[in-house]
């Protein structure tokens, strides 16, 4: 029995070390954003200067707005298309299931380098033959919508499967016009799934770098692309650390808010890992 508890303690130690491993890089980034010396490898002091510079340079704010613009617009389109797809496939379940599996699987399992590059090449040819679209927010938006559709469809489909079939039949039987049944029945019933799908699509868009990078053009620098570019030009600088720290802070706030609300609602946290790059 003593041996077993020694193993238990070793496993606990490993688990805690693994958690520390997950957080170490974030701590390093935040700590060095306050380091006064630009090229320091050890902490020597404390300053807010780098945050001030980030603010003054303005490029980052511009990139942040691009990220938000792209995220909101693509998530709106992705939610509409994904939700429609889910509704259709749910109603014609027998026929649609193979297509759903294929559509849902392809973007999830395709490595994102291939995803981004094949779209870049495709848009390039399209532009050459029909003069549209030029690389920029439009091409990035199209690319983002195409990876958001399957995820939104999954979320909405899950809600539809959990729905009482009799309710659906009742809605269809009462001779409501399609438009009327849409706003009187479908929208209220699907609202939670639509909101969840939209938020997931928005997060996926904000989080993506690789696909955005290959489909971007002049004037469509999003926040991750901005950071990537500044590392490529100047290496890692305290300013990059300051921008990254702001992002980490924002993520933490969102995470804490979410736990707080969910703890109040069900008393536990639902874990949704998102498979992405």
């Amino acid at each position: 029995m003593r041996r077993a508890s020694a193993i238990d303690r070793a496993m606990q130690g490993m688990a805690i070390a693994t958690l520390a491993f997950l957080w170490l890089p974030l701590f390093v980034v935040v700590a060095f954003s306050f380091e006064p010396e630009a090229a320091a490898v050890h902490l020597t002091g404390f300053t807010f200067d780098w945050y001030e510079r980030v603010w003054q340079q303005g490029g980052m704010l511009h990139a942040l707005f691009r990220s938000l613009e792209l995220g909101l617009l693509s998530a709106a389109a992705g939610t509409v298309l994904g939700a429609l797809l889910a509704v259709g496939l749910h109603r014609y379940r027998g026929r649609g299931f193979a297509i759903l599996a294929l559509i849902v699987y392809l973007p999830i399992v395709m490595p994102d380098v291939i995803y981004g590059i094949s779209q870049m090449v495709f848009f390039n040819y399209m532009h050459r033959f029909i003069g549209w679209p030029s690389a920029g927010l439009v091409t990035m938006g199209i690319a983002h919508v195409s990876f958001q559709i399957p995820y939104v469809a999954l979320v909405v489909y899950a809600r539809l499967v959990g729905l009482d079939r009799n309710l659906v039949h009742a809605a269809a039987d009462l001779y409501a016009s399609p438009l009327k049944s849409l706003y009187a029945f479908w929208l209220p019933v699907l609202k939670p799934a639509l909101i969840a799908g939209f938020l997931l699509a928005f997060t996926l868009s904000l989080d993506d770098f690789v696909i955005s990078f290959f489909t971007s053009g002049p004037g469509s620098v999003t926040l991750p692309i901005y950071i990537w570019g500044s590392i490529a030009r100047h290496g890692v600088t305290p300013q990059t650390n300051a921008i990254a720290s702001l992002m980490i802070g924002a993520v933490l706030l969102v995470a804490l808010a979410q736990t707080f609300f969910q703890a109040r609602r069900h008393g536990y946290l639902s874990s949704h890992g998102q498979p992405s790059a």
């Binding site: 693994t18 958690l19 890089p25 496939l89 559509i103 779209q119 690319a143 690789v210 993520v251």
Partner: protein, 296 residues
């Protein structure tokens, strides 16, 4: 007749736009890549007719300079890195998953959050942080120097080791979460039964615990191995020329030295391994009776 028309209309209206979008902007580009792989590169870096298998001989290593193993080495290295990453994340994930699952219920959400939050931070940030940790003259490099792994004043990056480190770091949460999901549902009565049969330590895990976590492990393997094999950001930031992976080699053919047919051929190779791996994997999962490995 009218009902049939309406059904068709409804079907087209709901399923149509999404399917059309994905067909036009995802299937068609993939088909275009498949076509490009069989074209030749003209002197301006543009794909041209006639259709050949030239790009594929290039992948195999033949060029006007004769044969060199360079490209095949990159493919092999990518497969190895994906394998290392999968094994290492699984080894780290098990203790952590058990640790969280056996913690008091009210601490579990916080512990899960500690695993999830780092993965919500953008991958570019998560990866460049390691450039700072593995740089020359940091404490980690000092330890490596002291242990004789590194010459004086060298950093641990860029290197294959740094790439492995970055990959394991980035994909660890995608292994922890599905394994945790299985561990949480674990039937401890089975484990006790194994114990009652006087199995001890390793054998309890081997026969009582492990089989019950296989579905989670399989889901984790898919979520880690595929993106690790197709990685771009991590090897680009943490690897040098000698640690280049397939994703970087592909990207190179479409940017700095354009050779689209060669790049497209490499893309097909990557897809072949990805889908081939998935098919083999699904067969294995079925044989282990783990069904679809709760991936979707």
């Amino acid at each position: 007749m009218k009902a049939v028309l309406r059904r068709g209309f409804h079907f087209a209206l709901t399923v149509g736009p999404g399917v059309a979008w994905i067909t036009l902007f995802l299937f068609l580009p993939s088909l275009l890549m498949a076509l490009l792989a069989f074209m030749t590169n003209d002197p301006y870096g543009q794909p041209a007719l006639p259709l050949t298998v030239h790009a594929f001989t290039q992948v195999a290593g033949y060029s006007f300079l004769g044969w060199s193993p360079g490209n095949l080495e990159v493919v092999w290295r990518s497969l190895l890195q994906a394998a290392y990453t999968t094994v290492a994340t699984a080894l780290l994930a098990y203790p952590l998953a058990f640790f969280i699952a056996r913690a008091p219920v009210r601490y579990r959400p916080v512990l899960l959050l500690l695993v999830i939050v780092p993965s919500w931070t953008n991958q570019v940030v998560r990866t460049y942080a390691w450039m700072q940790i593995l740089a020359p003259d940091t404490w980690l490099s000092h330890v490596a120097v002291a242990l004789g792994f590194l010459p004086q004043h060298m950093g641990l990056y860029p290197s294959s080791f740094a790439v492995s480190m970055g990959l394991v770091y980035n994909y660890l949460p995608y292994m922890v979460l599905p394994i945790y999901a299985s561990v949480e549902k674990l039937d401890w009565r089975l484990v006790d039964a194994v114990r009652d049969l006087y199995a001890s330590g390793w054998r309890v895990f081997r026969h009582g615990v492990f089989p019950q976590t296989v579905p989670g492990l399989l889901a984790g393997i898919i979520l880690v191995a595929i993106p690790a094999f197709g990685a771009y950001i991590v090897p680009q930031l943490l690897g040098g020329d000698r640690a280049m992976l397939l994703g970087n080699l592909i990207a190179q053919q479409f940017s700095s030295m354009p050779d689209w047919p060669f790049g497209a051929a490499l893309t097909l190779v990557m897809l072949l391994f990805t889908f081939g791996g998935l098919v083999v994997f699904r067969r294995m999962a079925r044989r282990l009776n783990a069904g679809e490995a709760n991936l979707l």
